[in-house]
């Protein structure tokens, strides 16, 4: 599978070796790291919920489409699920191509689409003890008794 959902740490060294290809001249990697702040709040940890069957099949579709559109040789992506700590790699996208332009374009397109097309949700845990689903406010236009709060 070129799209993988993993509950173990991402092994960037192994992934890089597995993409080695003497016909390829360019290799571009994007990693998303868990950082200690987001939108002005101090983040302590986070967790990803993933609906795995569709995350994998949609991810495969994205990789196939992007390779076709860019002419890259190969691409792989891994996204974490479950609990992550600061500094952990949440997502890894690697692309090999004959020349660098295709690899840069393909890597960017894949991560852009992973972020908006796969059924993956991120819950941030803040230093102040609060927690919340990221970006949910785009959908929830009106208040509700069960709605969590983004402010403590």
């Amino acid at each position: 599978m070129r799209m993988e959902i993993s509950d173990k740490p991402i092994d960037a060294t192994r992934l890089r070796l597995e993409m080695a290809d003497v016909t390829a001249g360019g290799f571009v990697v994007f990693e998303g790291w868990v950082r200690n702040h987001n939108e002005g709040r101090e983040v302590r940890a986070l967790e990803y919920e993933v609906y795995k069957p569709l995350a994998v099949s949609e991810g495969e579709r994205i990789i196939t489409e992007v390779i076709e559109q860019t002419g890259a040789i190969a691409a792989r992506a891994v996204h974490r699920e479950g609990a992550l700590e600061l500094g952990d790699s949440a997502v890894w996208v690697g692309v090999v191509s004959a020349h660098r332009d295709e690899a840069f374009r393909a890597c960017r397109q894949i991560i852009d689409r992973i972020k908006v097309e796969l059924p993956i949700w991120k819950k941030e845990h803040y230093v102040d003890g609060d927690s919340g689903w990221v970006n949910c406010e785009r959908c929830a236009k009106h208040g509700h008794a069960h709605a969590h709060s983004h402010t403590a």
């Binding site: 972020k115 993956i120 991120k122 949910c136 959908c139 236009k141 069960h146």
Partner: protein, 80 residues
Amino acid sequence: MKSVSVEYFALFRDRAGRSQEVVETAAEDALTLFRELEHRHATSDPRGHCKVAINGNMADWSDAVNDGDTVLLFPPVAGG
């Protein structure tokens, strides 16, 4: 009336207080079903940022809902 299995994810599950339920509905399409369940997910209009899957495949909000279907309701995603 038809019987539809509905699954809630992430924020929707937290709001609904459940991950799954079977509902009886006359809704013809996913959008109508979503609106009937507003008391669960607390979102008036899913279009643009929420997604729906029917029987294991990503679907459109205008897609038909049939008796025995499984409908997955996805709040706005945030991968990466």
